[in-house]
Structure formats: C-alpha cells, structure tokens
Amino acid sequence: MGGMTEFANPATYVVEGILVFFILWKILSARRGRDLFIRRIPGLSVLDEAVGRATEMGKPMLFVPGLGGLDIVGLQAMAIMSHVIKHAANYSTRVIVPLCDPVLYTVAEEVARDAYTTAGTPEQYISDDIRYLTNQQFAWASGVVGIQHREQTATAFYFGWFAAEALILAENGQIVGAIQVAGTPSIIQIPFFLAACDYTIIGDEYYAASAYLSREPTLLGSLVGQDYGKILMIGLVLLGVIGVTVVALTTHLPGLSWLASAVKRYFLDYFPGHS
C-alpha cells in the first residue's frame, strides 16, 4: 500500500481516471455527431402530460428544488427546472419555485429568467414566483405546503436534495390532487416519494434528467460515458467478490496462502473498508 495517503490512494487514481476518460471520450464522440441511444425514462416522459394538465386546469405548477444549496445536486435541479420552465412557457403556465437556500435562490432567479427568454416569452417571468422562503427545514416545508394549498397547484416536481420533509410535501401534493414527479439522490427519501408521487425517478436517473430532456449531444455523451463507468464498477465488484472468496478459501490452506496474501496485497488493500 505504498504511496497511500488519507486523501487519495492509487485505486482512486486508477478508478477515477478511467471514469473521467470514459465520460470525456463519449462526450467528444457525441459532439462529433455520433448517434447515441437513450432509453425511455417514464418519470421524465410525463413532462408533457404534467404541463398539459396544469394548462387545462388553469392552475400553476410547483417546482421544488429541495433543501440543498449550490452544489452538484442543486445545479442539476436547476438544469431540470430550466427545462420545465421552457416547456411551461410555451403554454403560458406559471411555475412557482420555493427555495430554501439563499445562494441557490439567486441562481434560480437567473436560470428562470434565462429559460423564459430562451422560450421567447420573457414577459412571463414573474419575480415573485421564484421565492426564497427560509433556510429552516420545517419552516420551509410549511411554506411550500402553504403555497400548494393556496395556489392549488396542478402539478408538482420535486427534484433536489430532500430529508424528512419529503413526505410532508408529497402527501400535501396528493391532498390538492396534483400530478407529482419526484427525483432525488437522497436514497432514504426515495421510498417516500415512491409511495406518494405518481412518478419517481430513481438513482442516477436524477443525473440523466437534463440529458434526457434536452437531448444535447454533450449531455447524452456524458450519459453513455456514465454507463461505461457503471460497467467498470460492476466489474470491480465482481473482482472484489472473487478476491474476497479466494482469500477466504485459501487463507487456511498452507500451500495456497501465498495466493491469499497476493490478492490482499495487490488488490483488496487498495479498497479500504473491505472485510
């Protein structure tokens, strides 16, 4: 394990290096015009239906970007929000965005204004619809619930980082009869969204959303690169399983103990936490 530090070890360099290579390689090949296939994601295909329903009912839509701040999860929520707003702007449907983080609020304002401008309807941008409520978790949740009930929102999108308030929001969405679509990288909240929402996107589909909605070659390429990365991860898991099994079987066999120590020394020890 020579050269290992508390920050990154050789396995990190190799795995991250390969993942980055796959992603960049696929982005570049997609930009060169290569056709890439992306499977259907039901939760995102429903965008038309969700916007159409709000338009027919003459009620606003709600986009909730969760508790997170200006990080990768928050930025992805903003990317999805941008597509939702562009779509809604074509039907003159309002989108209300209640925010919990002041930094993300400033970004959301810009992204919303930009989305309306791109859709060719800058006059539809209402600054009061991008609302900063508070940075307190449950005070924010009660604010969002209040908006759901007062505005009788027809559609609700929950994309971002959520905690215990996820179920409160989704259940109140049910009460007002909204069609609900959710996606979060917060694994603990996924079951709650599954139980209370009409469509829930799971796991890495959250990061695939902007690619799926925009069909931008750069994003599609990145998505395919991600899939290659996942194949690599599966391979590593299988190697780990084989490695641990070999160690367990050969440690106590005098003739083969060298195999156990070799597997441990050259593979398993580079992945801290294995047992």
Binding site: A8, V20, I130, Y207, K230
Partner: protein, 285 residues
Amino acid sequence: MFHNIQHFLSPATAKGPWVWAYIGTAIAVGVAALFALMAVPPRYRKMVVVAITFIGGLYFSLEFLLPHGKHGIVGRFANGLTDAKPGVADWVMIVGAFTLLLGTSNLFQVHGKAVRKMSPGWYNSLAFFISFFLIMIFGFLKDAYLGKHGIAGSVGTASEQLFAILFNGFVQNLDAAMFSLVAFYIVSAAYRAFRVKSAEAGLMMVTAGIVMLGLVPVGTLITSWISPHSWLASLRLERLTVWILTWPSMAVLRAIEFGLSVGYLAMSLRIWLSLERGSFFDRQL
C-alpha cells in the same frame, strides 16, 4: 509561501485599525472586481466565469488527489492547499451572507406587496414582518448586552427572555409540530404503498410485513418457539429482518449509490469543464 498567503487571506488575528484596513481593502477590491467584470465585453465575460469555475474545481481536485507529506515540493504544495481550506470556506460563507440579503429582500418584496394590496391572507404577511423584526431586534439587543454588561442588565435580561420566548417557545415548537406531521403522513403513504395490485406489490407487502414485525417485540414473540440454536433459527423473524436489511436491501442501496456516484462525477466534470449545455452556459453572459 502558502502559509503566508493563507495568513494574509484570513485576517482573523488582525487587531485595532488593521481590522478596518482589511475590511476597507476587501470592499474596495470586491467593488473593483465587480466593475472590472461588468466592463469586460460579454463574449469574454463567459471566459472569466469559465476560468474561475475551472480554477475552483482544480483547487479541490488537487487538494484531494495530490499526495500530502512534509518532504518534497508536491507534498508541501498539497499541505498548503489543505491549510488554505478554512480561508476558502470563509469566502464561500461571505458569498452566502450576501445572497442571504438578496433572499431577505425577496421575502420583503413578496410580503410587502401582499400587505400593500391587502391580498387574501395579507395578515400572514403582516405576521411575517412582525416576527422578523421582533426576533431580529431582541436577538441583536441580547447579543449586544451579553457582550458588554453580561446578561444581568435589565434590557439584557428582558431581551434574553423575549428572545427565548420567540425562539424556544415559537420557532422550535412550530418546527417540532411540523416534523411530527410526518408520523401521520407515513400512515396514509403506507396505506397507498401496501395496496396489493401486482405480484411485485405483494412481494413488497410480505417483505415489509416481515421487517416491521421483526423490529417489534411481538414479532420476536411470534417465532420465539424456534430455538436460536436449531437449524431453523434463520427463520426467526428478527433474524429474517436483519438478513433482509443487511443483504438484499443493502445490495440494492449500494447499486443505487454506485450509479449516483458515477452520475455525480459526470455532472461535476461537466460543470468544472463548462461542458454543461442547455441550462447554464448557453446564454451570453
């Protein structure tokens, strides 16, 4: 060299007039940077944003990836990057503080309009203004008197008590009340989730039933007739529960986490290299 830079950028030890000198310089540099950015032609402005994003990402990548150590230029460089982290965190906090002002101004705008126009529910907006100013005033008074005269002074004591009533009596209890609603919503969500509409839903219902029973004493009681030492011991409900949570459930969670991590990395890479399209970087800044 990095320690000197870090010391200069984190003037926590500055005293007397130096504090004001630091504050004045920081404001002057900030304003100058803002004007400089605004003076840059739009097509180059985007390049400035891209460059700043790249440098920020590079800092954190190098800080994590470079081997740290007391010897060798790379080790010392990496140590310097790590030592500079509190300073970088301060910058992030300062930016956050400015945006909090923007957020508060949005609150004032939305609720001020509601009160001015006497729109439905305007009294809720009035309640916002009253509570905002009350907690702010008593908070400031409490802290000011706590610092100068201890909390014993009459104004200090009154402020402390009123702040406690507002914060502990109202804010925390309202927070707890909101959180407690989760318990009721879990019941209604569980009712919908456990309706057996398909084979998969049935399987989930059975699994959830085993896990729920395995976590309560009555569940343990149901299968207590199976000896813990017999070959059937694995069928005891509490053991089945542990098995479900530790193996099948954990495997699925790990699989989702792997996917999420790779997606996170891809998104980070796109943001870092300004490759994200369709949302942030298409517009002419």
